[in-house]
């Protein structure tokens, strides 16, 4: 900066840069700006001392206040659990049927169950249990494994065909693969449809049904909850109620999997969820 040039009009120094005769002024920062800038620097230094700030090779500087958002979260969760203790203690102590009978406890279960259901169940079963193909409707009164509070609680805890040792499990055999002929499968599909008032019954279909299906689904298609065999008389179908869908399901059955919630939800939370599911309309 050998020769600083001063602009005549404004009296301000120029930067020495010139473009097509236009010279850039070296206007100083306004004081308020400058001091705000210094204040932010000061603030950052104070912040570094008080709060976690700098990473080190394996750790980070902790700050003298010992602040940690993770600790805050844990404390908040503990405070929440403590605030709910008067409820959760009763939930843990009482069997689920007694909880549902108490209006106050029922209200608490419904409020919590709604949130738990939305977080854990709704992605497959739909909001308010509206269901989807392959994912049972939880709002109707058709249950494969039972719709009492206790049965629902068990299903949530252990899952269906899940990785849990005590999981509910059942498997419908594959009937194609030369075991039944396509004609026989078509006939039994018709017969099954006739159980709920559509399709056409035939002697051949009835014969196959009695031999192959009745053991699990019952002689008259009333279903078997002990092994999760769906009722076939109600016109409610998990994988569709057309003849094609039935033929496909008999020939090469699909089996849905419901994970178990033993590890992910607490005993109290599972009770809340079961009561909520029970209240969706189908509870027995």
């Amino acid at each position: 900066m050998a020769n600083i040039e001063r602009d005549e009009v404004s009296g301000t120094d120029t930067t020495g840069h010139e473009w097509d005769g236009i010279k850039e002024l070296n206007t100083p920062l306004p004081n308020w700006w400058l001091w705000t800038f210094y204040a932010t620097i000061l603030f950052s230094i104070v912040y570094w001392i008080l709060y976690p700030a700098w990473p080190t090779l394996s750790d980070y500087t902790k700050g003298v206040l010992g602040y940690s958002s993770r600790v805050n979260l844990t404390e908040d969760l503990e405070a929440r659990d403590k605030a709910r203790e008067s409820w959760t203690k009763q939930f843990a102590a009482l069997p689920i049927a007694d909880i549902a009978k108490d209006r106050k406890l029922l209200e608490f279960a419904m409020a919590g169950g709604k949130v738990i259901f939305a977080d854990n169940c709704a992605p497959c079963h739909g909001s308010q249990g509206s269901g989807a193909p392959g994912y049972p409707v939880l709002a109707d009164d058709d249950w494969n494994w039972g719709g009492s509070l206790e049965e629902i609680e068990t299903t949530i805890r252990f899952g269906i065909r899940s990785t849990h040792d005590d999981t509910r499990v059942s498997e419908m055999p594959v009937f194609s693969d030369d075991y039944l002929s396509p004609t026989q499968i078509a006939a039994v599909a018709d017969h099954v449809l006739s159980l709920s008032g559509s399709g056409s019954a035939s002697a051949a279909g009835a014969e196959v049904y009695a031999e192959e299906c009745a053991a699990c689904h019952g002689e008259n298609g009333e279903g078997g909850r002990d092994f999760g065999a769906p009722r076939l008389t109600d016109g409610i179908w998990l994988y569709g109620g057309t003849k094609e869908a039935l033929v496909a399901q008999i020939g090469n059955p699909k089996h849905g999997v419901m994970p178990h919630w033993e590890d992910r939800l607490s005993d109290v939370e599972r009770k809340q969820a079961a009561i909520y599911v029970h209240s969706l309309g189908g509870g027995e």
Binding site: Q128, A139, D141, D234, G281, G282
Partner: protein, 481 residues
């Protein structure tokens, strides 16, 4: 190439949009209007600081504060009236009343609201009173501000700030007490157990009071408040406003010269300007800075009395009366005019509407939400079922019982979670005093009851005690066909 044209830009001297604030030092003055102002101030202070402490028995488990706007309970209590959040239109009604009342008062008597009752005026008045006690009256105060800092000045200034701050905090807390149970909130704050909300809002309103009444003062009226800008629309020549009788005051001059020259009654003592809290000269006619406090009337009367001249040279009177006096006619008050009659009628109409609404206020409100997911459910016996969430809002302090039935849907049966697990034709629903009861209700009907995808139906509620019947229209959905 031609020579480049060098233009000589002429930048005109800017008049400046920013006017530096000149501090106003109002002088103290006694008189009729000053007394009136103190009385109004006393009444306002008494209401503001005492009203939240009035107790009112509403029975077990209900707040016993007569005037309470409770955010936590979501209720507005005013003695025996209790307003629920969805009845907020009563607040709208009160605001409309306040607006029309303001218009009526202004068309009759000018800016009486501004001059006597507006909290900006009232609190500023009190803050200036404190300042005057500690720093002296106008002239003394002006000298005091210019004087170099001494221990005495520091002491007086500090004491003034402390009194201002304490009064501001009391004001802030006073506001909070309208929204919380006053004794509980006061105890909580005094013992350091208050919530951040209590402290925060108290400090917020304390801060605004301190700034607006201590420092901003007349600038609030002149620059911040929208009211002075459109007050002119409410005035006419019959509105009573603070006026100066120019016809007998002018030409003004010193009292000694009165006999010598042909001078008017005004002795140009400037006292009317000195006492003005906004620093205007009323002799220049009505202006938007004038808040109509009439202290200049007191000031001028005190001088006129001393000089033995007729009073009311500055007076609270209408423009038309001033003109009548100037002509020598008999002035007459005209309070009943088209404008005031219209405002009065409007005021009465809104009042009547609100009174009608309050008297006929329904004590029960029903909200029914039909489930949209799933829209309907097919049951294993082939019936169709819809889900509804029922909310019964009981706005009285006694429990109520209702019988619920479904009408206009053939073969309809209901199940209610926690109440009726098996399908029934009618069900009894309870709702506790002053609460909202929520019920999940499932209605089932044979498929044949639906002729199309949707069927209009209704819920019929019968009050078990009074037999009153309430019908609520809803719909029932089935499979698309």
């Amino acid at each position: 190439m031609s020579e480049p044209i060098v233009e000589q830009h002429h930048i005109p001297e800017s008049p400046g949009l920013y006017a530096k604030h000149q501090k106003v030092y109002p002088q103290e003055i006694g008189g009729y209007y000053r007394n009136l102002k103190w009385k109004v101030t006393a009444a306002i202070m008494a209401f503001y600081f005492l009203a939240p402490w009035i107790r009112w028995d509403r029975g077990e488990g209900q707040p016993d504060q007569a005037i309470l706007v409770s955010m936590t309970l979501r209720r507005l209590y005013f003695f025996d009236i209790e307003i629920w959040p969805q009845e907020i239109y009563y607040l709208t009604g009160i605001l409309v009343l306040a607006a029309v009342g303001l218009f009526l008062a202004t068309s009759m008597a000018g800016r009486v609201w501004c001059g006597f009752t507006c909290w900006q005026t009232v609190w500023t008045d009190l803050f200036v009173w404190v300042e005057t006690r500690l720093e002296g009256d106008r002239n003394k105060r002006m000298k005091f501000d210019k004087a170099p800092w001494t221990l005495d000045k520091l002491g007086r200034k500090t004491l003034k700030q402390i009194i201002w701050i304490v009064f501001s905090i009391l004001t802030g807390a006073g506001w909070i007490f309208f929204f919380n149970d006053a004794p509980t909130a006061a105890m909580d704050m005094l013992t350091g157990q208050g919530t951040w909300g209590l402290y925060g809002f108290t400090l917020l309103f304390a801060g605004t009071t301190y700034l607006l009444a201590g420092f901003a003062r007349e600038q609030v009226c002149i620059y911040m408040c929208p009211w002075p800008r459109f007050q002119g629309a409410m005035f006419d020549e019959h509105s009573l406003i603070v006026t100066y009788e120019a016809w007998r005051g002018e030409p003004r001059g010193k009292a000694k010269n009165k006999e010598a020259g042909n001078l008017g009654d005004c002795v140009d003592c400037n006292l009317c300007v000195n006492v003005c809290p906004t620093g205007v000269d009323i002799r220049e006619g009505d202006q938007f800075q004038c808040i109509g406090c009439a202290l200049c009337v007191d000031a001028c009367n005190s001088i006129m009395t001393k000089l033995g001249r007729p009073g009311e040279l500055i007076t609270y009177d209408s423009v038309s009366n001033q003109m009548a006096r100037e002509r020598g006619d008999v002035p007459k008050k005209r309070l009943i005019r088209k404008r005031t009659v219209a405002y009065t009628l409007l005021l009465c109409a809104v009042l009547a509407l609100m009174a009608y609404g309050l008297v006929n206020r329904s004590e029960l409100e029903i909200n029914v939400q039909r489930d949209r997911s799933p829209l309907f459910v097919q049951l294993s016996d082939g019936q169709i079922r819809n889900g509804y969430t029922f909310k019964l809002l009981n706005m009285v302090a006694e429990p109520q019982t209702f019988t619920l039935m479904v009408d206009e849907l053939n073969g309809a049966k209901m199940t209610v979670i926690g109440v009726a697990p098996d399908p029934v034709d009618q069900v009894t629903l309870d709702v506790g005093p002053d609460t909202v009861a929520t019920y999940r209700i499932f209605v089932r009907a044979p498929k044949e009851s639906l002729s199309s995808q949707f069927k209009d139906m209704e819920f019929v509620l019968t009050n078990s005690a009074t037999g009153q019947i309430i019908e609520y229209d809803s719909r029932f959905a089935g499979p698309d066909r």
